[in-house]
């Protein structure tokens, strides 16, 4: 079941088309990563879904909700740079937005305590937000997005502003939320998307250029590659290899050679056999699949 269906979403700023007909579906209780370079239209897309911006065209349909009704109750939203009332404490802010979202006083207080613990700032709950560090604000931002038990959590670059430790913790938090809630998060950090997301949407210049589950995308774009490192320049050995096997692409960089081949198993046998027979000064032999990053570059450059 899909929580949200977006059809042909368009957004125009003056004469500038920022979103050019984006369509996608968000399946229930999955984590979906919206990937794209800076300026691809990620934030705009999320803001339109969250109701902070008007769309120029297209449809946004929540499951089981008639078009035109207020869907804010169903959405938890964390902007890229969350800001709060500086004069409130973290606890006060959470209770305030909880009550504004329709929770009773007791429910808001209970939920606040839970969430402060969940995001790991229980100790700082009574401190003024003005004294919070960037990472603490980000966590408080996630907590406020979850306060009214939304069906859909929208996170705009939830980890970009964090240090490695904070990033790790937010990723772990997202993993905890998996299976409980649908999460749509934008990022330009590919390894994060690779780590937690079930599905990926590639946004490029305001269009979805590729989408699908992580496995499906890897299967589609994976081209096995073999990395060889020699003690000296690999050119002559690569020439030898060319005669023995079909190589699609070679990239030689210093003592390292990266080969793209189709028949990996055959290539491995030949390379290992030749290196033994001819006593190649081989330092490293590695077989790997293309990473999301390379996938991303391919998708983008293919446009």
């Amino acid at each position: 079941m899909n929580v949200l269906t977006v059809k042909e979403l368009r957004k125009k700023f003056k004469r500038n088309n920022v979103i050019k007909g984006v369509s996608f579906e968000l399946p229930e209780k999955k984590i979906i990563a919206l990937l794209g370079a800076n300026g691809a239209g990620k934030t705009t897309t999320l803001q339109i879904i969250a109701g902070l911006m008007n769309k120029t065209g297209g449809e946004i349909q929540f499951e089981g909700v008639e078009a035109g009704t207020d869907t804010r109750q169903m959405i938890g939203y964390l902007p890229q740079f969350p800001v709060f009332y500086q004069w409130m404490s973290g606890k006060e802010f959470l209770q305030y937005v909880g009550k504004l979202s329709g929770l009773s006083n007791e429910a808001a207080a209970k939920k606040t305590t839970e969430l402060l613990a969940l995001v790991g700032i229980a100790d700082a709950g009574k401190k003024k937000i003005a004294n919070y560090s960037g990472g603490m604000k980000q966590r408080l931002g996630i907590a406020q997005a979850l306060i009214h038990d939304p069906k859909l959590l929208i996170l705009d670059e939830p980890v970009s502003a964090l240090d490695p430790l904070g990033r790790r913790e937010v990723i772990e938090l997202l993993k905890k939320l998996k299976t409980q809630i649908t999460v749509l998060f934008s990022t330009h950090i590919l390894s994060d998307a690779e780590e937690v997301s079930d599905e990926i949407l590639f946004l490029h210049h305001g269009e979805i250029v590729e989408s699908g589950s992580l496995e499906a995308l890897t299967a589609k774009y994976k081209q096995p590659k073999i990395t060889l490192v020699f003690e000296r320049s690999p050119q002559s050995y690569i020439d030898q290899l060319h005669q023995a096997l079909k190589i699609d692409e070679v990239d030689i960089n210093g003592k390292e050679a990266v080969l793209l081949v189709n028949e990996t198993d055959k290539a491995r046998d030949i390379i290992l056999q030749m290196s033994v027979e001819d006593r190649w000064p081989l330092v490293k032999f590695e077989m790997s699949k293309a990473k999301l990053e390379e996938m991303f570059l391919k998708v983008v450059q293919g446009q």
Partner: protein, 259 residues
């Protein structure tokens, strides 16, 4: 309704934490109270600091209590309005600019409640400050000169308060669609100044102008009867306040919060 009360509570709490609930009433008291005090001690002040040539005989007619009270009120015409505008200039704009308005309004919060709670919050602050200040002026006028009947005090308070409310609402109106609080203060003050200048120079043609309310209140204090033209001016002020508030809600809703 419950949500509206939480929004108003937040406005009140914010104005307590940033000390507006302390300094606004204080400034309003100082502004108004200094008038009866300086008027009472004027002969002594001139004697001490005036350096008049010897033999000069100055005869000060003792002003009537109503004159003193009216003079206190005119203190608010310039400085009072300036303070009102400066204290309300960022009431929505600063929250939109920082982005915290967007944080609140992605929650199921009514736009109408958001704007009206801010309006009521600043109205309460204004009326309490104004009441304290004007009451102080009335009290000191009573002690140093003569007590003006309390009913007249209340009537002039309500009438002049409508004019100050108009100023507050006008500031809120520009807040609903502009982001720069400096610009909001500039435009509001310019409009108020132009309105006052034109209304008092062309007071016959523009007798219905809300900006003349302060003149009418003065006249009422001096003469003891309401000027005829006042009704139109008062009605127009009230209608403008309501219209500006409705327009503010409409414009605020129409604006994209994220932009």
């Amino acid at each position: 309704m419950r949500q509206w009360i939480f929004l108003l509570q937040k406005e009140m709490l914010e104005n307590i934490r940033n000390f507006k609930w302390i300094w606004m009433p204080l400034v309003f008291i100082i502004l108004a109270v200094q008038q009866p005090v300086t008027m009472y001690y004027m002969p002594q002040i001139i004697e001490k600091f005036g350096g008049l040539p010897e033999g000069t005989v100055l005869q000060f007619p003792t002003p009537s209590a109503e004159e003193v009270l009216a003079a206190s009120l005119t203190q608010y015409n310039s400085l009072g309005i300036l303070i009102i505008v400066l204290s309300t200039m960022g009431i929505i704009a600063s929250e939109r600019k920082s982005g915290v308005a967007a944080m609140i309004l992605v929650k199921p919060v009514s736009y109408t409640s958001f704007v009206t709670s801010k309006w009521i919050g600043s109205m309460l602050l204004l009326w309490v400050s104004f009441f304290c200040g004007y009451l102080g002026a009335w009290y000191y006028t009573g002690i140093l000169f003569e007590f003006v009947p309390f009913s007249i005090f209340i009537e002039s308070l309500l009438l002049y308060g409508i004019w100050l409310s108009f100023v507050t609402t006008l500031t809120l109106f520009f807040n609903s669609f502009m982001k720069s609080s400096g610009m909001i203060a500039f435009i509001t003050l310019t409009i108020i100044i132009l309105l006052s200048v034109f209304s008092s120079t062309l007071s016959n043609a523009l007798s219905w102008s809300p900006a003349l309310l302060s003149n009418y209140v003065t006249q009422y204090l001096m003469m003891g009867v309401f000027p005829e033209e006042m009704t139109a001016s008062l009605l127009l002020a009230i209608v403008s306040i309501i219209a500006l508030l409705i327009a503010s809600i409409f414009l605020f809703r129409k604006n994209e919060l994220a932009a």
